[in-house]
């Protein structure tokens, strides 16, 4: 293909990113023309853009293969995660209508940044080359730094944005140094190429490659908020606008995990026995720190942040298994997690009121009497986060621990299961608040459910239950895609 800037098939396989970038730019151009009169228009347009990108992603999958000389790889794995981050984007916009109106915030930039961030994540999940991973990671992260501090006047949002930015760029630098060392020791940055060099004769010094893998582990560990790199998570999730906290816990996290899985199970597969103990320790630490710290939280956003650290730990268990079954389990889990967590944050966003005053767990008391629908949906999400049967969370955990056992990780499985028992306590506490207490100040003041919010609750609930009742549909696809990964 030398000499050709881009062929038609390149463009088709790059379609979702093109649609999102063009529509994001268009939103910013339309901003001065539409003004604030029709601020909902930007939300509608960005949902349209994401729906277009969803179609583009599926069309790209049907014409799948490598693009741009092997820098991108549109396979089942990329499409699975691409669809996941696009759906996460749509589910973030639904509760944002009411949220932005209540806070009196501008809407055009918010949606444009969200589209750019999703575009970056689509690029990340399809990247087959370490520099492409880096570019996608930065497109996604830089947009999210701004989104975390979108409410400029709010001190908490400023702080969240600052911490997210500083620690995020710090982590990126580590990742990049790892890329440089890989480039120096193998002479290539193509993931398949690195695999070939590492498994072939005359493999480069393991010290160099080991340091590079460790640096990349640190960088990606920050992005997925795995312990011991999780310190930023509670502050950022607490301070950021609630729909954005939901987005951060679903989209960027799933995309970072996709990169994690792709790099460590393709490029670094030959040195798997070397990184396995590292990921093992990080998985255990994330589950334990996340669950035990969540027990002590009174702020619900902080609690969900710690729970998201714990859930990152569960996914790392799947990575530790180093098998195709494990990869498929991680994919399934991240899909289930995106639905249940975005749904849970949508309820928090609904209740928190102007200026996000009500964020305490006590504020949920008596919600079931005032708004049975919101309480019922929240219960579904919480039960799924616990891992109760008939919800997506149950099968997610089941497949992950099954994969871990198949790879003889008995101790990790036992400790992980004990951890999920601990987790049940802090989720159930909210259920007790909602159903067994009298309404308090926050629940008395709660506004009626807007149509956008109703959708934002019902769609993730259907998704959660669907994954819990018909898990095979998604799991079969994940299983097929995890084989393609090689």
């Amino acid at each position: 293909m030398p000499g050709n800037f881009a062929t038609a098939s390149d463009v088709i396989r790059f379609l979702p990113e093109i649609i999102l970038a063009v529509m994001g730019t268009l939103l910013m151009i339309l901003d001065p023309l539409l003004h604030r009169r029709s601020s909902n228009a930007f939300g509608h347009l960005s949902i349209l853009a994401l729906a277009g990108a969803l179609g583009g992603a599926i069309y790209a999958y049907l014409n799948g293969g490598p693009a741009f000389g092997g820098m991108l790889m549109v396979d089942g794995f990329a499409t699975f995660f691409g669809v996941l981050v696009i759906v996460a984007g749509i589910l973030t916009i639904l509760p944002s209508y009411r949220f932005l109106a209540r806070q009196g915030a501008e809407t055009s930039e918010y949606h444009a940044l969200l589209l750019f961030s999703v575009a970056g994540q689509c690029l990340m999940v399809a990247a087959n080359d370490l520099i492409m991973v880096f570019i996608g990671l930065e497109i996604s992260s830089i947009s999210s730094y701004i989104l975390a501090g979108y409410l400029r006047e709010d001190k908490r949002a400023n702080e969240a944005s600052l911490k997210y930015f500083l620690l995020g760029s710090f982590a990126t630098a580590f990742f990049l140094y790892g890329v440089a060392l890989i480039y120096g020791s193998t002479g290539t940055i193509n993931l398949a190429g690195v695999n070939v060099v590492l498994s072939g004769p005359g493999a480069p010094s393991l010290v160099f490659v080991g340091v590079a893998a460790a640096l990349m582990f640190v960088g990606l560990g920050f992005k997925v908020s795995a312990a011991p790199f999780q310190v930023w998570t509670p502050d950022v999730y607490q301070g950021a606008p609630t729909p954005i906290s939901a987005f951060l816990s679903a989209g960027p996290k799933a995309a970072a995990f996709a990169v994690f899985l792709r790099i460590f199970t393709t490029a670094f597969a030959p040195i798997g026995h070397g990184w396995e103990p590292l990921v093992w320790a990080s998985a255990l630490l994330s589950m334990t720190i996340g669950n035990f710290a969540a027990l002590q939280q009174s702020n619900i956003k902080r609690m969900l942040a710690y729970s998201s650290i714990a859930h990152a730990g569960y996914v790392l268990v799947a990575l530790t298994a180093r098998s195709e079954v494990g990869t498929a389990a991680a994919m399934f889990y991240l899909a289930a997690y995106a639905f249940m967590n975005i749904g849970a944050f949508a309820v928090v966003s609904h209740l928190s009121g102007k200026g996000e005053r009500y964020q305490n767990i006590e504020d949920f008391s008596g919600l079931a009497q005032k708004q049975p629908l919101a309480a019922a949906m929240f219960s579904i999400f919480l039960l799924s986060l616990i891992g109760v049967p008939l919800t997506g969370g149950f099968f997610g955990k089941f497949y992950i621990f099954k994969a871990a056992l198949e790879s003889h990780l008995v101790w990790l499985t036992v400790l992980g299961l004990l951890n999920s028992a601990v987790a049940a306590y802090y989720y159930l506490r909210i259920l007790v608040m909602m159903y067994m207490r009298e309404p308090a100040e926050a629940t008395e003041a709660v506004e009626p459910l807007s149509p956008g919010l109703r959708l934002a609750l019902i769609v993730p609930a259907i998704g959660t239950l669907f994954l819990g009742i018909f898990p095979n549909w998604v799991l079969d696809f994940a299983g097929k895609s995890s084989v393609l990964l090689k």
Partner: protein
Amino acid sequence: MMSAVPVYWFLMLSAVLFALGVAGFLFRRNIITVFMSIELMLNAVNLSFVTFSYQLKQVNGHLFTFFVMVVAAAEAAVGLAIILTVFKNRSTLNIDEVNSLKN
């Protein structure tokens, strides 16, 4: 010219600069200085890329530095804007005083 200096010296310099950046990030208290430490880390990586590119007789490594520079510029624009809003709301640039988020 470059052959006069062994290649691994450049790599050592790059590692030292990276480590200085990490140290600055961890121990400095002024937000601007912390931010500059991150830039130092990115540029240390650039030095590595150029050195490896020279050693491998490839042009790829040089191209990567351009990507990194563009990303670093975008990051600087966003980062300084964030730091500015923090300063406007709190009138301080000490990172220890930005600590209102807790349980």
